[in-house]
């Protein structure tokens, strides 16, 4: 079975490599600052001992005071997985760097998050609504969305 790596261990490793990039970490996950998300993600993918080559999903959560974008990665080589998150505190114009250059599978999922949650992904080549139509007002999965 796939081993879920400890967020604390990975966070310590990342903190050594990229000082100040980790916001917090628990046994199950770690929170990366969105400024250093791309380099951390590239490190997770390219480091031989981690080799997270499979992108399970990206999703987003609305906590009122901030949005949290959640990524799960798996390594098909080592058969282990990790969950890492990033937060954006700007409610008016939340922006997170896109990981589409690292994992193609993020394409439609990032579009879905943009559509329903209104988080824009910087560097996404085709960031437009996926499920709802052009001209729809608002982002319905936000907690403060009123029809």
């Amino acid at each position: 079975m796939t081993v879920a790596l400890s967020g604390k261990d990975i966070a310590a490793q990342l903190e050594e490599k990229f000082p100040g990039s980790i916001e917090e970490s628990t046994e199950t996950s770690l929170v990366v600052k969105s400024d250093s998300l791309l380099e951390v993600a590239a490190y997770l993918k390219d480091t031989k001992s981690l080799a997270f080559d499979y992108f399970n999903y990206v999703t987003a959560v609305d906590y009122y005071s901030y949005f949290e974008v959640v990524y799960q990665l798996t390594s098909t080589k080592h058969n282990h997985s990790i969950i890492f998150k990033t937060r954006c505190y700007d409610r008016e114009n939340p922006t997170v760097p896109s990981v589409i250059d690292l994992w193609q599978g993020a394409d439609f999922q990032e579009r879905e998050i943009y559509d329903l949650m209104g988080i824009s992904f910087e560097g996404h080549p085709n960031l437009k609504r996926l499920f709802l139509w052009e001209g729809f007002q608002g982002h319905p999965l936000r907690k403060d969305y009123i029809q």
């Binding site: 437009k128 609504r129 499920f131 709802l132 139509w133 052009e134 001209g135 729809f136 319905p140 969305y145 029809q147």
Partner: protein, 209 residues
């Protein structure tokens, strides 16, 4: 929309998106009121209180005995419909098993599933492409009223906002028996229609002229 000849595409994808969005907004704006169910046949029967002519009966028999269904299965009710088509429930016993991928060859639309606003223009288009005479069976809670998704931001609250519906089959999803009963009800309804003009009215019109 103007298209210059040096463009690689006739429409760019963002233009297509905008057009699609516009179309959906138009359909949505025009769908505030439910379309009344076609019930002229009821009225007429009361008004004239005469029997059908024999040619009416023949036409109605021909129409109701081979209802060809257009494929419009946006969601899970489709599986009950497929079951009804299959060997166990065998709708073909009643002459209603044929499915048509082309709406131009169909005269019945069984709307098996939840309709989203994004899909609404497509369903209306399929309906418009079906030749007259045509009938619609709203199958399942979603097709009748939007069902549990009624208050959602992207679900049409009932097909009768988009197209006129003849028979409603409740259930979530309805069992194949219910669907078969619904089609039989529609057949009874068709049997009461008057495809030919009213002879009395024709006589009166002749007198006037």
């Amino acid at each position: 929309m103007e298209v210059s000849s040096d463009r690689e595409y006739i429409y760019t994808s963002s233009e297509l998106d905008r057009q699609e969005g516009q179309l959906i907004e138009e359909v949505k704006a025009g769908a505030r009121e439910s379309i009344p169910d076609p019930d002229a046949w009821l009225d007429e029967e009361v008004k004239r209180s005469i029997m059908l002519s024999s040619l009416d009966a023949v036409l109605n028999w021909a129409r109701r005995s081979s209802l060809w269904t257009a494929i419009c299965f946006p969601a899970c009710c489709a599986f009950e419909f497929i079951a009804a088509e299959g060997p166990r429930f065998d709708m073909s016993r009643f002459g209603m098993e044929i499915l048509r991928a082309s709406p131009r060859q169909a005269d019945l639309m069984i709307t098996a599933g939840t309709l989203t606003w994004k899909m609404a223009p497509v369903v209306r288009r399929i309906y418009n492409q079906m030749p007259e005479p045509k009938w619609v069976i709203a199958m399942g809670a979603c097709a009748i009223s939007g069902g549990i998704f009624r208050s959602s931001y992207n679900v049409v609250p009932g097909y009768n906002k988009i197209i006129p519906v003849d028979v409603y089959v409740p259930g979530c999803p309805p069992r194949p028996e219910a669907l078969i009963y619904g089609v039989q009800t529609l057949q009874k309804k068709i049997a009461k229609e008057h495809p030919l003009p009213d002879p009395m009215q024709m006589l009166q019109r002749g007198k006037k002229e």
